[in-house]
C-alpha cells in the first residue's frame, strides 16, 4: 500500500509542527520598527481550525526565508531524522521553501509537508489558515515523502518553484 492514510483502528493521529519563521509569522510594530518575524501563529490557527488530533508545536527558528541557509537546513533535517513522529508540517518563508523541501527529500518513512503564507497570518485576509489546513490534510493522506502545500496545490518536493512575479507556487 502506497498510502499512509490514517487508519481509524490504529493509534490516534499525531502531527509534529515545526515553525521556522517566514511571512506567515510576520508582525508589525510601528513606524520606527521593521516588520519582523514574531511568535508562531500555529497554536491560534489550529485552535480556530477546531482540530481533534494530537499535536506538538516546535518553534525551531525565527527566520526570514532569505536568511535560511544550509546550516539551518541541516538543523531541520537532523531534528526530523531523530524525531519519533511520522507526520510533519513545517512552516517556512516562501522564497526558499522549495530549496528546504529538496534538502529533506532523503528522509524516508515520513510524510513531511512544508507550507507558509504569502500574507501574514495576523492579516484579516490571509492564505495562512487555508494553507495550514491543506498541509494537515496532505500530511495524513499523501504517501511518505516531502511536499509543499501552497497556492491551493500539494506539490512533491523537487517539482515546484515560487513564481515571484506572479506571487504563487507552480510546477517547476
Amino acid at each position: 500500500m502506497l498510502s499512509n492514510f490514517f487508519d481509524p483502528g490504529s493509534a490516534p493521529m499525531f502531527i509534529k509542527f515545526i515553525t521556522t519563521g517566514g511571512t506567515i509569522d510576520k508582525i508589525y510594530f510601528d513606524d520606527l520598527s521593521q516588520f519582523e518575524v514574531g511568535e508562531s501563529q500555529m497554536q491560534h490557527i489550529l485552535a480556530e481550525g477546531l482540530v481533534g488530533f494530537e499535536f506538538e508545536i516546535v518553534p525551531l527558528m525565527h527566520k526570514d526565508s532569505l536568511e535560511v541557509d544550509d546550516n539551518d537546513r541541516k538543523l531541520l533535517h537532523d531534528y526530523i531524522e531523530k524525531d519519533a513522529a511520522s507526520l510533519f508540517v513545517i512552516t517556512h518563508g516562501t522564497d526558499s521553501m522549495a530549496q528546504t523541501a529538496e534538502a529533506l527529500r532523503d528522509l524516508e518513512g515520513r510524510t513531511i509537508v512544508l507550507t507558509g503564507a504569502l500574507t501574514p497570518a495576523r492579516f484579516r485576509t490571509t492564505d495562512a489558515m487555508f494553507n495550514i489546513g491543506m498541509a494537515v490534510a496532505a500530511a495524513q493522506t499523501a504517501k511518505p515523502g516531502v511536499y509543499i502545500a501552497m497556492s491551493g496545490q500539494v506539490f512533491e518536493a523537487g517539482t515546484v518553484q515560487k513564481n515571484r512575479a506572479e506571487n504563487r507556487f507552480e510546477t517547476a
Copy 2:
C-alpha cells in the same frame, strides 16, 4: 497505483466544488429574522486561499443539514455521476454530512471530499477556511473514494460520525 496524486506532467488540476448549504454558509439578518443559509462563501474562501488551480463552483442546494433528505442525496449522487470531473469538494451541513457521504460511496473513480464548518464562514473566527483547505488537499492527494474533512482530520466515508455533545467529528 492507489493514489491519484496530482501529476505535474498532466493536464492542469481541476476541482469541482458543489455547495449544498449548512452552517458554513449561514448568514444573519436582524432581530426579526432567523439565521438563514445564504450565498456560498466558497468563491471568497478560494480567493483568500490564493489558489492557483482551475475550478468551478456549483450551488446545488441551500439547505440546512437537517433538511437534507434522500431525494437531495439522489440529486447530488446523480449530479456527480454525470459530471466529467474526477475531483470533487462538497460543502454540506454537519449534522447529516456522514449520511450523505455514505450515500455517495458507490461512485467509483472519483475523489469526493465533503466538508463544512461548525461556525459560519462569515464569522471572524471560523473553521471554514481551514476545512476547505483540508478538503482541497485531500481531493488531490487521497486515492479515489469518499471522505469527510472535518476537525482537522480526513476520514473515509462510513468510518466517521459527528459527536454533537463535543461538537466534533470522530471515528464512528
Copy 3:
C-alpha cells in the same frame, strides 16, 4: 459651557458600559440551535480599540431588542440614576433602541450613548467596532443628554428611528 468635553486637568476619564443584549452580542451554535444572545463582546472590542481610559462593564440583561419591555427600561433607568458615573455607553438591540433612548431622557447631568450593531460583533465584517468607537467618543465630547450612535451618526434621543427596510438609523 455646554460641553462636558474631557478636561485633561481633571480626574481620569471613566466610562460605565452597560450591555443589554441585541444583535451585537448574537452568537451561533449549530444547525439544531437558534441564533442566541451570548456573552458581551465589549471587553474584546475595547481591548482591540487599545483604549487607555478607565471603565467598567456591567451586563445588565441578555435580551433581543424585541423582548425589551417597559420593566427592562425601568431597570436600566434606575440603574443609571443610582450610579455615580457621568458617562455611559449602553449596547442594545437595534429594533427598540430608539424607545429605550427616549425612556432615559429625563436623566440629567449624564452623557448617555446607546449603540449596538446591525451585524453581530463576532462576524468578520461588522459595524460593532465602529459603533462602539463612535459611542465612546460621543460620551466624552457631547454635552449631557441621551444619544444614539448608529449608521455613522450621533443622533439625539427623540429625533431618530430605525428604518427597517433600509436597515439603517435616520432622523425621525
Copy 4:
C-alpha cells in the same frame, strides 16, 4: 452655543476625509519587500461601519509619520483652509500626529479630528475601525477645534502626546 452638534433639521451631514498615510494604511508584500504605505483603507472601513452620511475621501499623501515634514503640514493646512467642508477626519501616522494637529490649530470654524492606528487596518486585530468610529463621532459632536482621537480618547490639539514606550496616546 459652543457645540456644532449635527442639527437634524439642517442639511445632510458631510465629512471630508483626508488620508496622509501612516500605520493605518500599511501593507505587506513579501520577504523581499518592506512594509509600505498602501492605498487607503478608509472606503472599506466606512462601508463596514455602515455609515449613512455623505462624505468624500481625499488621499493627499502616502507618508510614514516620520517622513511628514513642515511642507507636508503646510500642504494639509492649505487644503483644509480652501475647502468648503466644516467637518474633517484626517488619518495620519502616529509618531508625528501631535505635531500635525498643532500645525492646524489656527484653522477656525471647523471641527478637525486626526486619527490613525497603532496596528494596520488590514490586520485581523486592529484599532483602526474603533479609531475611525471615534473620529467620525467627535467630528460631529465636538465644538470647532482640532482634536486627536486615539487610545479611546478625544484629546484637544496641544494637550496630547504619544507615549512610545507604552504605545499609547496620553495627556501631554
